[in-house]
Symmetry: C2
């Protein structure tokens, strides 16, 4: 038993102090055998049920409850890992997943980020500075119009030119047509500038089309893949990250994930959701809404995401935080100071604002970022 | 323009009365072009941006905001439909999706439930009575032990014998071995009893294994498919429901979906999440935790789920609510009165309690239900 592989999940649990031990017991059974304690054979309790490792008052309110689970009940599947972490207990009021800790030997079948921070820096030839990112928008433009935008952004030196996450396979800009046009435009711009800008199309799609779209994107010259795991499931990202024939950097978008952090005493912490789970799913850069934009994440919540992208997690590489959600050029200094240089500045609408010349706007954005190295 | 296909989403929005119009504007842009209003070309606003149809105080607090979206921005994809309904706005505090309304012509590429209530009743030869369901558990038992359980339940006349949702492909009971053993056991029992019990294995699995496991399950004689869309993404269910070579009833489990309903002013209503979205995804029977068990959904919330499984939604068939989560035999009368007879009683642990003879316990459960027709 002493060599058995186990991992821990840290929950924050609400309730009166004298109820917490019973709540912890309920969680360790609910997340495993989902069976009455008195009916569960002793050998099953020993082999499969979680064990309470720690109960202590939590600074943020409620109690910190650490439960250790045997890796044997996960197998090698990210879906079942997430199920053990929070499946049924997500439906219990007043329980929040704060973090999990995995032994390096246990990576639940995930190779994790293929590129990570260092790989992405090498690919984009940006050794130390923050990376620049923007999104092609608004939806409703044609593939040709989006490709014109992409060309301008690439000429101006934006590193990562991604689809807006609402671009799927609509009639106004069908997936294949858009990807071919945008990837070609970025490649042509790179040939002129010497930059290594990448076009990153959105492959959030029906279950049976995600993989095909990613491969089609690669064939057309895409330099990365964008996916919204809240819409596809996290394992769709893991599937693409693990694909040696694809071997492209993966970027995730937070669409439909907001409910996990909507209540401070429920759901999954920013740290675990945007940092840890994205890394397990093989994401190299995670988009989230930074403070001071159109959304309401606090500075502390955003910095906890950045921490979750980098702190030790098995043997997984650190990945890039990509704060967006209404960021503007005048926030770059503040963000640079808060996030450090291992950050992707994602600026969308504001990059259209200074002049009608997107390439010139982009160059000024790049100059601004480079001046702070 | 007058013949353009549009659908509506009803949100409940928090905020001072004089802020609601601005919040509604923010939502209709955020969910579509995600671009500053003043920079969006008029033709794009006309063609792609949502339109506010109604703003009115809501009985539950906040305001009811109805936004109409053009189906053209969805295309034919459930992933993009969910993205338009709530993608980015899920991250905004104080916005809840209450329901959506689709014209019959627009089914976002979903054929919907293949069986529905009527199809499931025909399949199980149960014209009018509530259906009976249980789960094979606890995890940690071997495939042979689970198959012995399945046989007993089938001999006792349980209609639907499903995997516990934590059974995946662990070493103690590998998927293929378990499914073959359990399906065979149920078929043998049916041959003795004349009942039409079905074994419903869990195919919640890595992205690239969901479809294969479902087909393997069918080859081994499974009579339905269980999936947790919170873990796989809803479109994995849709993919299986649409599969003419599979053509098995689909049952969903709520694992990891709890955060959507954890806060009354955020997330997605029980009605829309468990009723409407499950139907769009082709689910024939939706498991959820009923009031009075181990979870905290209220009676009203549970009955709103039942309403969402049946009220008109395009041309989609009504499906079965399957209330579980700690239901016991002594709740059957109360549940029968609340849900009516179009319900699946899902009783797990409690079916192990009266005696060690699971077949006898199951027969008594069935007798109890049949006595209330």
């Amino acid at each position: 038993m002493s060599t058995e592989l186990r991992f821990t999940v840290t929950y924050r649990v609400q309730g009166a102090a004298d109820e917490i031990a019973a709540r912890a017991d309920a969680i360790r059974f609910e997340q495993t055998v989902e069976f009455p304690m008195d009916l569960t054979p002793e050998r099953i309790i020993e082999a499969s049920v979680g064990r309470v490792v720690e109960i202590a008052p939590a600074a943020a309110g409620g109690h910190r409850v650490v439960i250790s689970y045997p890796s044997a009940i996960v197998g090698k599947e990210l879906t079942q890992f997430l199920n053990v972490v929070f499946g049924n207990t997500s439906i219990q009021p007043g329980v929040r997943v704060e973090r999990f800790d995995l032994p390096p030997e246990m990576l639940v079948g995930c190779r994790g980020p293929r590129f990570g921070r260092q790989g992405l820096r090498t690919l984009l030839d940006a050794a130390r500075r923050p990376l620049l990112c923007t999104a092609l928008k608004p939806m409703g433009l044609s593939a040709r119009e989006l490709a014109d935008q992409a060309r301008q952004f690439a000429l101006g030196g934006i590193d990562i030119i991604k689809d807006d996450h609402g671009l799927a396979d609509q009639g106004f800009s069908p997936f294949g047509e858009r990807v071919r046009a945008c990837a070609t435009a970025v490649a042509e711009a790179n040939a002129r500038t010497g930059f290594r800008s990448v076009y990153v199309p959105n492959v959030t799609a029906p279950h049976d089309q995600v993989v095909d779209r990613a491969h089609l994107a690669k064939a057309y010259g895409a330099g990365g893949i964008l996916i919204s795991p809240g819409l596809t499931g996290f394992d769709a990202a893991r599937r693409l990250a693990d694909d040696d024939q694809l071997a492209l950097p993966m970027m995730s978008h937070p669409a439909l994930l907001g409910s996990f952090t909507a209540s401070p005493d429920n759901g999954i912490s920013h740290y675990a959701l945007y940092g840890q789970i994205n890394r397990l799913a093989g994401i190299d850069a995670v988009v989230f809404p930074s403070w001071g934009g159109r959304f309401a994440f606090t500075r502390d919540e955003c910095l906890s995401i950045a921490a979750g992208t980098a702190e030790p997690l098995g043997t997984l590489a650190p990945i890039f935080p990509a704060p967006g959600g209404g960021m503007k050029r005048d926030r770059v200094v503040e963000m640079r100071e808060a996030y450090g240089s291992d950050v992707i500045f994602l600026i969308g609408g504001d990059l259209h604002r200074p002049t009608a010349d997107l390439a010139a706007n982009s160059r000024r954005f790049r100059d601004l970022v480079e001046s702070y190295i």
